[in-house]
């Protein structure tokens, strides 16, 4: 059951801390779980895991291609490997390894990409993953997710250890606003309706979920009732949820910390244009590279804020009514 915080507030735990906690809990129950690091064990928050499970924390150094193919090999030999690095390296750098050593053979490899989109902040444009979802989404045999807070992070890590397949989880490493109460359960592939509304649906994942909730508040004051969906699984897309949202509200805004091309915006547009043409506005990065700065600055810079969502929601509603 989904239990929401009354108002999203800063969490006490970092996303990487939640990831490590859940991995340790599951690794304690399942001897097959291993973590493969690429000299980012510290930044990815997995030092405690390494301390508790020294032989099951494998650091191959700065060698992502090797790590990714090794994960495939370990899976073939019956382990449940978590290949952990920054999102840019987990996608851009090892695309062929994900394909050849993990997805094509149909193995059980879990990939965690830290620093999704603007959350790479001071690492700047070179390290800003705006393409990872799009790149990986066109690959068959893969699941793509981004948790929106630590409660969901822990739940998804648990789900990943209990379901078979190549799964990519992108995530901020640090603190995010808490959206869910502890104990909320999530099902991979099922969008979470956070708020009901009749005029427009706001679909988001990751850090834009909180922005969508804020946008819904602003829209409500102006008499526009927004349905808000946390579409934390980008692939496989929850088609039923998208179609139901389109039918109920007749207009959709997607919001993502990623290029609008290839990400959730594309996925929703592809589905609806073939089945139920609906006005869609896509909030996200518009074919640009990232740059250096704080998360707040970058969210403004790339128009990923509640204000952008409000603006685009009004456009979508206007298009619906025209």
């Amino acid at each position: 059951m989904v239990k929401l915080k009354q108002t999203p507030a800063a969490g006490a735990q970092e996303m990487r801390g939640a990831c490590c906690e859940a991995l340790m809990e599951e690794a304690g129950k399942n001897d097959s779980i291993v973590v493969i690091n690429c000299d980012l064990c510290g930044p990815m928050g997995l030092k405690l895991f390494e301390k508790q499970f020294p032989t099951r924390s494998i650091n191959v150094g700065i060698a992502e291609a090797n790590a990714c193919s090794m994960a495939g090999g370990m899976s073939a030999a019956g382990m449940v490997p978590f290949f952990v690095t920054f999102a840019v390296f987990a996608s851009r750098r090892v695309y062929d390894q994900v394909f050849m050593s993990c997805a094509y053979p149909g193995l059980n490899v879990k990939i965690i990409g830290g620093d999704s989109g603007v959350t790479s902040e001071y690492n700047g444009g070179t390290h800003m993953a705006f393409e990872d979802v799009g790149m990986l989404r066109i690959m068959p045999n893969i699941t793509i997710m981004e948790p929106s807070d630590t409660v969901m992070m822990k739940a998804l890590i648990r789900e990943m250890t209990r379901t078979y397949g190549v799964q990519y989880l992108r995530t901020p490493r640090k603190k995010t606003p808490q959206i869910y109460e502890e104990g909320t359960a999530f099902e991979i592939g099922k969008g979470v309706v956070l708020r009901e509304g009749s005029d427009v649906t706001l679909m988001a994942y990751g850090i834009t979920v909180c922005e969508a909730l804020k946008a819904a508040d602003v829209l409500k004051e102006e008499g526009i009732l927004a349905r808000v969906v946390d579409m934390f699984t980008i692939k496989p897309l929850d088609k039923a949820c998208v179609l139901e949202s389109a039918r109920r509200t007749g207009a959709i805004v997607t919001a993502e910390n990623h290029q609008v091309t290839g990400g959730l915006g594309s996925a929703v547009a592809e589905l609806l244009s073939e089945t139920l043409p609906t006005p869609i506005e896509r909030v996200g990065v518009q074919d640009e590279f990232g740059e250096v700065g704080t998360q707040a600055y970058l969210m403004e810079r790339f128009s990923l804020t509640a204000a952008s969502i409000v603006e685009r929601a009004k456009l979508a509603v206007a298009r619906k009514n025209s």
């Binding site: 060698a63 090794m70 090999g73 073939a76 030999a77 062929d96």
Partner: protein, 289 residues
């Protein structure tokens, strides 16, 4: 080695060559060169060295082989069929629509193929992962890998070497098929890996050179590797691209060849003759024909 073991292994390696020649003869083309140069090592591995069970190809306590040079899959398919992993009739379906046997080694459809390969450099990493997993599970299986010499151009190979050595994977035996040529020409012309054995030694591998066309020498090198503790093992197979198949050996560019059924049939006859006359696998460069 027992008296008749050499004979048996040579028969197996001849049968591997004969079977992929039949497949390529039927198709009219194929990766003849790189299949020919690994026929002898495959005969040693599947002719008794590896602990495998054709009735239970996925047994977790088996020995593993990752054919990192995945384009030589037809030679491995031949070895697996000869060992009874799947019916011999499958071999005639190589690359046909709907076949289970595609050009590059495919673990999804072929019993006995331990990993999907074909994008070079990745197989050795997968093999290292398998070896580490076996160690964590407390299994003493041997993990073999066959790299091409041209494949050494791929930097990932050496990432994997570093990991194998760092973790002291002493149940990992990595062959390099040093057949002297890659697709566009000789190693020297394209991108020379120079001292292959020296490179593996520098990483900390227990490294040997083997006469890659001599089943007895390959066999002996594997046994020596198994006795050497604490480090991963490399056996550089001194071979020749197209080894033991004259029409393939003679061509300058023999990575992928067009070949007629008649050419292949003649090559098969020659293989049988050399076996009978005790000069198998022969081949021009070894002066044994």
């Amino acid at each position: 080695m027992l008296d008749n073991q050499r004979e048996l292994l040579e028969r197996m390696s001849a049968d591997i060559r004969i079977q992929f020649l039949k497949m390529f003869g039927k198709l009219g083309f194929g990766h003849v060169g790189g299949c020919a140069s690994i026929a002898d090592v495959l005969a040693v591995l599947y002719g008794g060295m590896m602990r495998v069970d054709p009735a239970n190809p996925a047994a977790q306590d088996r020995d593993w082989l990752v054919l990192s040079k995945g384009h030589a899959a037809p030679a491995l398919y031949a070895a697996l069929a000869l060992r009874g992993f799947f019916p011999m009739e499958w071999l005639a379906t190589l690359n046909m629509p709907g076949t289970k046997l595609p050009s590059h080694a495919d673990a999804r459809t072929v019993p006995g193929i331990d990993f999907c390969t074909g994008s070079l450099g990745q197989g050795i990493s997968a093999a290292v992962g398998i070896c580490l997993a076996n160690r964590l599970k407390g299994q003493s299986s041997w993990v073999y890998c066959i790299l091409g010499d041209g494949e050494l151009n791929e930097g990932q190979v050496f990432e994997a070497c570093g990991t194998a050595a760092h973790y002291g994977l002493d149940h990992f035996i990595c062959f390099v098929d040093w057949n002297k040529k890659q697709l566009d020409g000789t190693l020297a012309q394209v991108q020379n890996p120079v001292d292959i054995a020296g490179k593996f030694k520098a990483f900390g591998f227990d490294t040997q050179m083997a006469r890659g066309y001599d089943v007895e020498d390959i066999h002996a090198c594997i046994l020596r590797a198994k006795d050497a503790p604490d480090a991963p093992h490399c056996i550089v197979l001194d071979t020749y691209k197209g080894l033991g198949i004259d029409f393939a050996e003679e061509q300058e560019h023999n990575h992928h060849l067009v070949c007629s059924a008649e050419q292949c049939a003649a090559a098969i006859e020659e293989i049988e003759r050399r076996l009978k006359e005790g000069c198998y696998p022969g081949g021009m460069r070894y002066g044994k024909a």
